[in-house]
Symmetry: C2
Subunit: 163 residues, 2 copies
DNA sequence: CCCGCAACTGTTATAATGTTGCAAAACTTG
DNA sequence: CAAGTTTTGCAACATTATAACAGTTGCGGG
């Protein structure tokens, strides 16, 4: 791979969002799940940057929309989106980010830049495999893997030579 | 390895705790860090089971002791203990657990049993290495890895055949 | 068509987790 | 012991998440 990953360079992000929304609609249809206006709007908000968004940030945006929303509205939408693999929760940040591999079976791994806040989701079969093996060595039956890596993204390394 | 790991079988846990406290005292001395009574007591409480303890659980225990403590007392003690590698925070649980590799340089990986709540910390060089490689492929500079695996421990698999 | 069920939403209140800021006390060092 | 640093006590507050219950909507079967 020579080009840097998406979050780290300029791109037409509106197109990303639209693609994600279109994908989401299709996935929900296939799964007989209802992507209601609120849910779709929350997904759109989450997708609007490559930085994860807190539940209360989403709430604030909804309020700006004129939507008279309370926390449960947001959490319920987020639960739904998570369940259908459309967003991920980043446990170390208490925040949510759009899934860039929606539809595909995957084990996410997140590269979280401490300087710019961008998060890159990547799948790494080799990692998943070694995790599976290590857990297996303890006869542990894996059901969910939380793998979040904090550090500096390529762009920010240039500016933060001292860290 | 044939015997199962410590948390999964009966053992004299008081001895574990005492060992951990002794180690902690030595580590702090070496680092010129002050393991004050409150800090030591918090460490002891955290160590008293193989299940992670929430900050407010610790607070409640301190209160039972007769210690007139407020949240900052606990969080400050926990910060100190984390900084000196004596406890770990489990992000996916908002809870803390005693470090079983204090003193050694290590990247922790946690096996969290959803049935019994026990957590086993393990070091897995192969995992760390594959994570490092995957991140490196994106030119990402790793500083902290959060790796938490939820599932079923060996003992609990026997009872939860249906999951 | 409309009844009834299930899924979704609104609303209020509250729980759980974590932080800020400041003043007092304890320890450390010269 | 005096000055400075670290630690603690304390009150208030900020953030994140859930509970409980009532109302509403969409949808399939009589």
């Amino acid at each position: 791979m020579s080009a840097s990953a998406l979050p780290y360079r300029p791109h037409n992000h509106e197109a990303c969002v639209n693609q994600a929304l279109a994908d989401a609609r299709e996935i929900c249809q296939r799964q007989n799940a209802r992507l209601t206006p609120t849910r779709e709007r929350v997904l759109e908000l989450i997708w609007q940057s490559h930085k994860p968004l807190g539940a209360y940030d989403v709430l604030a945006q909804l309020t700006e929309d004129g939507h008279n929303a309370a926390p449960p509205t947001v959490y319920r939408a987020l639960d739904f989106l998570q369940q259908h693999g459309l967003v991920h929760r980043i446990a170390s940040l208490n925040a949510f980010i759009g899934c860039t591999h929606a539809g595909e079976h995957h084990t996410g791994m997140f590269l979280i830049c401490r300087a710019c806040g961008n998060v890159l989701e990547m799948t790494a079969p080799a990692v998943s495999e070694s995790v599976r093996q290590a857990a297996g060595a303890e006869n542990f039956k894996v059901s969910d893997v939380t793998l979040e890596i904090a550090g500096l993204c390529p762009s920010c390394q240039l500016e933060h030579v001292d860290e």
